[in-house]
Symmetry: C2
């Protein structure tokens, strides 16, 4: 019997996963992690009001979610002072990245990103046949001028920029980004990933000019709002681009409980403020742990801290693997020279205590290994 006839593109793709999840690692090592500090989850969790709203909604989980996510969309529109037509809700930023890439990128189309930036975006670009061009980080910052210059060179249809950045935690001011956008070539859409923007200092976000067709931005309830497992992200852009998502999206793809939880989370800004305080405290603690071990923490506008381990990628990888062996789940950047760092997510005291205990042991072994 013959096999299914895949498209040439599908045949060419590897069956890869952009990230190995912590549960997979736990199964591989045969033991749970004592500290889960690798996925930039927000261990402080969502608003208790969001949890209560979700729990209360489960009696109606037999209903499909609202295909328009009307209530959440309306609330987000009010929150950002835009119209609901400027917002599309989706199954996390990952899902929305897939839809956007699908709308713009076909076989051989050029896309630009930073070398070592978000792998799931790269996965989508490859998955739709796009050709990825990368530019290096500059002093551990993504480099808007270089990104846009490369976009002009290769006639890119899409350029990816995260602000604040993952995995480095660095950031640009919105004013600087706006100025840099003067060099964004015609016909190239800026995909501005603001997954971590809620954790960033004031004036980090690019000012919202919702009629500007040059930029689409992604936001999420997975980070500061503490609901990664719910899978709620959204894009903000001018209305015509937003409407285009209806050509390709999974209209009934949203979990109904997640829609309700995100709305409740958005409405509890007091909780968000409290969580941001805890994140700030945890960032300081992680930085202190790094310094206590003779390492250099990088400034961060996110819910994680990149720690420069003071050597090369191989050394950082040894440190990371030893931490993982000790039950402390962390991750690290993929590309040099950023891969001299490990990346540690914010979390409560007990998990950072576990990291503090494990780090000197890991460093010792990596140095002697």
């Amino acid at each position: 019997m013959t096999q299914p006839r895949y498209t040439p593109l599908a045949q060419s793709l590897p069956a890869s996963v952009p990230f190995v999840g912590p549960e997979t690692q736990e199964r591989q090592r045969g033991a749970p992690f004592a500290a889960r500090l690798g996925a930039n989850e927000n261990i402080f969790g969502p608003s208790p009001k969001a949890i209560a709203a979700m729990q209360g909604s489960l009696g109606e989980i037999w209903k499909y979610g609202d295909a328009e996510s009307h209530d959440l969309r309306a609330a987000l529109a009010a929150h950002h002072s835009v119209a609901p037509e400027n917002i599309m809700i989706g199954e996390g930023i990952d899902g929305l990245l897939g839809y956007l890439v699908r709308l713009l990128i076909g076989d051989g189309d050029a896309v630009v990103t930073s070398l070592g930036a978000y792998p799931t975006f790269n996965y989508h670009v490859a998955g739709f046949g796009g050709v990825l061009h990368t530019v290096p980080y500059k002093d551990d910052h993504e480099d808007p001028a270089a990104l846009f210059a490369r976009a002009a060179e290769v006639d890119a249809k899409l350029v990816y920029l995260a602000n604040p950045d993952n995995p480095m935690g660095s950031w640009h001011s919105g004013a600087d980004l706006l100025a840099a956008m003067d060099a964004l070539p015609e016909g190239c859409l800026l995909l501005l990933d603001e997954a971590y923007i809620d954790c960033a200092p004031d004036r980090t976000a690019l000012p919202i000019d919702i009629s500007d067709p040059r930029v689409i931005r992604t936001r999420t309830f997975s980070k500061a709002y503490g609901m990664a497992g719910a899978r709620v992200g959204y894009v903000l852009a001018e209305a015509e681009l937003i409407a285009a998502f209806n050509k390709v999206r999974n209209h009934f793809g949203m979990n109904r409980t997640a829609q309700i939880g995100a709305l409740a989370a958005l409405q509890d800004q007091a909780w968000l403020a409290e969580v941001l305080d805890r994140i700030s405290t945890a960032r300081d603690r992680i930085a202190q742990i790094a310094r206590d071990n003779g390492l250099t923490p990088l400034p961060s506008a996110t819910n994680f801290v990149a720690i420069d381990c003071g050597s090369d990628g191989a050394f950082a990888k040894s440190v990371l693997e030893d931490l993982v062996d000790q039950g402390v789940f962390v991750r690290m950047p993929f590309a040099a020279p950023q891969n001299r760092c490990i990346r540690v997510s914010c979390g409560p005291e007990d998990q950072l205590d576990a990291f503090a205990r494990a780090l000197p042991i890991a460093l010792e072994r990596a140095r002697n290994g």
Copy 2:
């Protein structure tokens, strides 16, 4: 400023939705529905143990879901006596249909389905540039022989067949399907949508021969298991085809609570049996309401009943619109001659009472309108 440069395919697609959701209709009419009998949701809901498991899990909603859905996949593998490698979990059947179409169908590739079958499948085919060929129903049943013959004629890479069928509720025996598959052309994959199989009589399912590369089947927790809002579906197929989903799927797209709820729902087969009893009772009641009004209910192996309104599509549409005006949400088939029917989902007594009250009024007005 220039607009984003969409792919030629994206430019050609309409910004359409395969279905208008009941919430959208409620907003349009300015009032909630008294009875929600249009989306084939399972109003009897999921196992209370599943609800409790989901409620209990929400304290950890800050965690991403397991990218492998390992525990659910293992439990489903045991349930179906296959290997975990024969199962892929996804964001409802709708999401999985999108991935499968993407793997197989590119510009101009031929696909075969029944005229008036599941619109969301057609949406995905169009969305990836496929060319849809349709064959008519035969006596309100999908017609495997005609589907496979057409597939051979047009060199289809994929043929869609739902067993039991939506929107008609009709079904074939697994033995008859297996015999019909002798005529399935080489290189054409049978996509067997078994969303409603749990509601069907014994021996309706195509026997599972998991090494047979000719067929992939879809299953869901949205229907008999009562968790439409959770968005959990899965495909069953030989391992190589299942592995191909890892080339294109959103690996971290599953809602964590939904994974946990589906596992608990699967483990409560006693609840499933009880719900199936209630569905059977409700089917009988819907049929009786139809007969009380001089209409003909069609036999059903699903959680809904198609009711032949005894005239043409225009008449059935008038009846449907009047029911909707009265606050009773129902739907109807899209294509003639099936569109002489309305389609009514099973539900508890009070909702069927509302339907029983509204139907004679709707018929009277449609006849005099």
